[in-house]
């Protein structure tokens, strides 16, 4: 057996940074057990029967919210979706007040997405429920990194020694931050690349290599992760034009011809086709983008299950 631990230390999943390699391995191994549930005729198991999970999405999300909701339903939890628009938040209620009011209804877990980094931590410190971070500002998006790692491990059989290049808006991405923590902790080799305006100074201190062109990032990579250019998050463009971005950092079939045989192309979605990735690549044989979506449900089921039981004192 690969496992050396059988439980998570914390009641919450706030990020990858606090996790040990053993805890990461436990989540990924558990997700393997859950993947099969989604392929059954009856796609439901009674593991979280009678538990209430609140999905508190204070920022737009389709994929992550849907994925969490499916995972919760497949575990037989009761779910309640709370979105900022049309709620008391628009009337000026603070996050703490919203959360304490929800807590008075005794949820067992709260899945939260918020534009401010640290919002999940603030709830975790105040509420007895388990808090799962579904993305907080530019801080972390732990379940995305876990599903990326699950997909890599499923395809390549390991994480140790795998060369992963991450290309795009490194500065504003919580997906990158969680992925860097996870991949370096599991001894993968991480390279980042993007326009210099979108690469934070001293990022090397997180244990990654900076490549200065897309070709350099592709060279020797087993996995290439393309990030979405997040126009809504930047306020202003940090490169001259989308056309120029595509010409410099867009992943095209021509670029991939220099890549290692069997390279995996990943994207956390939603994709801007023709900006960071060509359609022929997104739909091509290299792409595992839809596997990522499928695996997301299994990984989130594993996290909910591991946090959802009785807690060891």
């Amino acid at each position: 057996m690969r496992q050396t631990t059988s439980s998570l230390k914390s009641k919450d999943l706030l990020g990858i940074e606090p996790l040990t390699p053993e805890e990461i391995t436990l989540i990924l191994d558990t997700a393997e057990g859950f993947k099969e549930v989604s392929e059954r005729p009856v796609k439901k198991v009674p593991a979280l029967r009678g538990q209430l999970v609140i999905n508190l999405f204070m920022e737009a999300s389709t994929r992550t919210r849907v994925s969490f909701e499916i995972a919760e339903k497949r575990l037989s939890a009761d779910t309640l979706n709370f979105a900022a628009s049309g709620s008391s938040v628009e009337k000026g209620e603070t996050l703490i007040d919203t959360a304490e009011n929800l807590m008075a209804m005794h949820p067992d877990m709260i899945v939260i997405r918020h534009k401010h980094p640290g919002a999940p931590k603030m709830l975790a410190d105040r509420l007895p429920a388990s808090i799962i971070n579904a993305g907080d500002g530019a801080h972390e998006h732990p379940t995305q990194a876990l599903l990326d790692a699950f997909t890599i491990r499923e395809r390549l059989g390991r994480l140790h020694g795998v060369n992963v290049s991450i290309v795009g808006d490194i500065a504003h991405s919580r997906v990158v931050r969680s992925n860097i923590h996870l991949l370096t902790r599991m001894k993968a080799n991480v390279t980042v690349a993007g326009p210099p305006t979108l690469i934070p100074a001293e990022i090397e201190r997180l244990g990654v290599r900076v490549a200065h062109s897309l070709d350099e990032a592709i060279d020797g990579a087993d996995v290439i992760m393309m990030l979405r250019i997040q126009l809504e998050r930047q306020g202003k463009l940090t490169f001259p034009s989308l056309r120029e971005y595509y010409n410099t950092f867009g992943l095209t079939p021509a670029r991939l011809r220099r890549a290692k045989e069997g390279i995996l192309v990943m994207h956390p979605g939603p994709m801007n086709r023709g900006v960071e990735i060509a359609s022929d690549v997104a739909d091509g044989p290299w792409s595992v983008i839809l596997d990522q979506v499928t695996n997301g449900v299994a990984v989130r089921m594993a996290v909910l299950y591991l946090l959802g039981g009785a807690h060891a004192e």
Binding site: Q3, S6, S7, D29, T30, E32, G33, F34, K35, E36, V37, R40, P41, V42, K44, V45, P46, A47, G50, Q51, L75, A302, Y305, L306, G308, G309, A310, H311, A312, E313
Partner: protein, 178 residues
Amino acid sequence: MKVKKQLLDGARMHRAIRRMAIEIVEKNRGTHDLIIVGIRSRGVPIGERIAKEIEEMESQPVPFGILDITLYRDDLTTIAPQPVVKPTKLPEPIDDKVVILVDDVLYTGRTVRAALDALIDFGRPRVVMLAVLIDRGHRELPIHADVIGKTVPTDADEVIKVRMAELDGEDEVLIMEK
């Protein structure tokens, strides 16, 4: 925990499993529609061996599957840490088939209750039968075994330990005292 007595050694376990295989074939008048399903963990090697014995006897391969019942346990919300979940692998649809559930020890019956719930989520078998290597009594649910390797009267403070070569390096069944 100290060993009180060896109930079965390797040779006797082998004979018990072979007899269980014969009984399964007799009860079903052949191997038609049969699927052997082992309950994790010790039910898996026992089920595999039963399937192999039947195949040798009848010159007919018998499909074999693995059932993980963790998510169907009735004590999931009260025990910590959470038990490890592993995949269930069934070789083919179980609708209208004869499923032989295999486990090592039948005790309270709660594992079998969970296994039946898990199985029904995969389809509607025509018949489900239960085959266990050891029946030690002390049932807490109305469940019985159809095929039994050995019936052993036990005290509640005793523990039956089934060791299988595939998982534990050796074949034997021990009765232990707490």
